[in-house]
């Protein structure tokens, strides 16, 4: 009998991934514009000692690191789900009008309420992302027979173009283009505990629910007719998955702006490691996405310290060659 080529059990792969994530966490706590030691980092997380360094770590670096972890996980998981539901290997939050919706909402807020704080901007972006997605899904499923992957892509492109036009217009009319692009350029600078408190529970709950739906997603990703034949209520499953996508990607976009590539790239890499069963893909994507985002943000803080290098740029520069390699190799990815 021919054995599977990937004979390492999933649990080991997952634990290795988790170990890498935890290591990355400590590395990113230690390095940065202000030099800190591992002991400082330890104190900041565990003890009540109060020194300047510890305060700096606690109030600036730790929330940022946590944000990177959760945003990375959320983007990767939402990308994986999107690729599964739409059976489109190029699906990412941009495809479903999420990013465009968040940007339009952001521009509108900056124009109308110039002194809105981060907290409100985050909420508004999230709502914008949801509205953008609902528009795309609505248009994509207007015709009888529900949403086909192809029609979704078309609707996504059209709605995104429309929302981008609105954003541009608001930016020009109110002369706030610069403020808008500062935000949407993407970054984790200035993430506060308050923002995290609001966003992290959504991300955790959404990821847990998505893992419960993973088997349904695997079956749905095979073929819709097969899924119906096996007794799946595909309409209900799809709607549940889309709500999860909106929650995950919406909160991420709200927090960090446009980060391309994580949602697109990580699931492909993960498929090469754990195969095509979403029960394995989703948890592994969460860990891999978190690690990747964390390292990218750490790099952004350190390579040109004390100046920030935009994390979106880092992600794209790191992501593109890697992605091209994956596409070229084909591997276990969609083919």
């Amino acid at each position: 009998m021919v054995k599977r080529s990937t004979s390492i059990p999933f649990l080991y792969k997952f634990l290795i991934g988790l170990f890498v994530l935890i290591s990355s966490f400590f590395i990113s706590m230690v390095v940065g514009a202000a030099d800190t030691s591992l002991k400082d980092a330890w104190n900041a997380i565990i003890s009540n000692t109060v020194t300047d360094t510890v305060i700096m770590l606690n109030e600036i670096r730790l929330p940022r690191v946590i944000a990177a972890i959760f945003v990375g996980a959320a983007l990767a998981v939402s990308g994986a789900i999107m690729q599964g539901v739409t059976r489109n290997p190029l699906a990412d939050p941009g495809l479903l009008g999420l990013t465009a919706g968040a940007n339009a909402a952001l521009a509108l807020t900056i124009a109308l309420i110039p002194y809105a704080n981060y907290f409100w901007i985050t909420i508004v972006c999230f709502i914008g992302a949801a509205v953008g997605t609902i528009l795309v899904l609505g248009i994509g499923s207007m015709r009888r027979g529900g949403f086909s992957p192809f029609r979704l892509v078309l609707a996504g492109a059209a709605v995104s173009a429309f929302l981008h036009a609105i954003t541009e217009w608001i930016g020009l009319y109110f002369r706030i283009s610069k403020d808008v692009s500062m935000w949407t350029a993407g970054g984790l600078i200035g993430t506060t505990w308050g923002q995290l408190q609001m966003i992290v529970p959504f991300i955790i709950i959404s990821i847990v629910i998505s893992i419960f739906l993973a088997k349904q997603l695997t079956i749905l990703s095979l073929n819709e007719e097969v899924a119906i034949g096996l007794g799946q209520n595909i309409i209900r499953v799809k709607y549940m998955l889309f709500i999860i996508i909106i929650l995950l990607a919406g909160t991420s976009v709200a927090l960090v702006g446009n980060i391309a590539f994580v949602g697109l790239m990580i699931p492909h890499i993960v498929r090469g490691i754990v195969g095509t069963d979403y029960r394995f893909i989703l948890p592994m994507s969460a860990v891999a996405g978190a690690t990747f985002m964390l390292l990218a943000d750490t790099l952004g803080r350190t390579i040109n310290a004390p100046f920030e290098t935009p994390v979106a740029a880092i992600v794209s520069i790191l992501g593109l060659p890697f992605f091209l390699l994956i596409v070229r190799k084909g591997g276990n990815a969609f083919s």
């Binding site: 119906i228 034949g229 007794g231 069963d277 276990n332 969609f334």
Partner: protein, 281 residues
């Protein structure tokens, strides 16, 4: 009375009806084949009966209950479907794909039970693909892959199996391999099999009951002797066929056939020309 039948079934989108006023009975524990030219509604009919698409009006009754009112999971324990050329199962192994056939029996996060594993094992064995259990489905040949999908349908343990053109894209030997497997399943286990086929001789040879469709309506239904006849084929496919007998199975078969062009066209042309002549004279 048969377990599955339709009553005045209309299927279509908006104004355009693809299947009209269809009242059929699917004979239990027999092989039924639906034939007809492209676009006659045979796939549509198969999809409606198996609830993949919804119908406009009329009813589909299975075991005395309308399938529109039945839970989809309950139906999945009664009827299995093999759609036309399912996409490749990106990276899944044969064993994994076949195990999804147990989906209707599983609850929440439960693992495969001993019973599930036994059924999966049996499905792999009866379709002759046990040796490929750990191989990716994509690495198999077309015929083997088709058997994997059939094994998945078998793992569903349903009395009825529906297949939409199960032999498309397969070469002669692999076509026979699939059809003989279905015949065996029908003979040995008494499963009801309903399939859409394009090859008339295969339909005649393997089917106990044939339904011939044209423009969404039944032209003729019955045994192969009753359906594979000159006048029926002329009506359904616009072909002029010479019907003989298969010397081995004694079933009817098309020995040779020609396209019946002309007739309609000829009539039309003649009448148009005569009208034209009329007008201008």
């Amino acid at each position: 009375m048969v377990r599955l039948f339709t009553d005045q079934l209309h299927i279509g989108y908006g104004e355009r009806l693809i299947v009209k006023d269809m009242t059929i009975e699917i004979p239990d524990q027999k092989i039924t084949t639906i034939i007809g030219s492209n676009g006659c509604g045979k796939s549509t009919l198969l999809k409606a009966i198996t609830r993949i698409i919804s119908h406009q009006s009329g009813t589909i009754i299975l075991d005395g209950q309308s399938i529109s009112k039945e839970g989809t999971k309950t139906l999945a324990k009664k009827m299995a479907i093999l759609p036309q050329t399912p996409e490749s199962a990106a990276g899944l192994t044969v064993g994994e794909l076949v195990s999804y056939g147990r989906f209707p029996y599983q609850k929440g996060f439960a693992r495969l039970t001993k019973k599930d594993l036994e059924v999966i094992h049996w499905a792999l064995e009866v379709t002759g693909i046990e040796e490929f259990k750990y191989r990716p489905v994509d690495a198999l040949s077309g015929g083997q892959r088709q058997r994997v999908w059939i094994a998945m349908a078998l793992a569903q343990e349903t009395d009825m199996i529906f297949l939409d053109e199960p032999t498309t894209y397969l070469d002669m030997a692999h076509q026979l391999e699939v059809l003989e497997l279905l015949e065996k399943l029908n003979e040995v286990q008494g499963r009801t099999i309903v399939m859409v086929l394009h090859d008339l001789n295969q339909a005649a040879r393997f089917a106990d009951y044939i339904i011939a469709l044209k423009d969404g309506q039944i032209v003729k239904e019955g045994t192969s002797e009753e359906v594979i006849k000159r006048d029926v084929l002329k009506d359904v496919f616009q072909i002029d066929a010479e019907i003989g007998r298969d010397p081995r199975t004694n079933k009817p078969m098309c020995v040779t056939y020609n396209l019946l062009k002309g007739e309609d066209l000829h009539e039309k042309a003649t009448s148009t020309i005569s009208t034209a002549v009329h007008t201008y004279s």
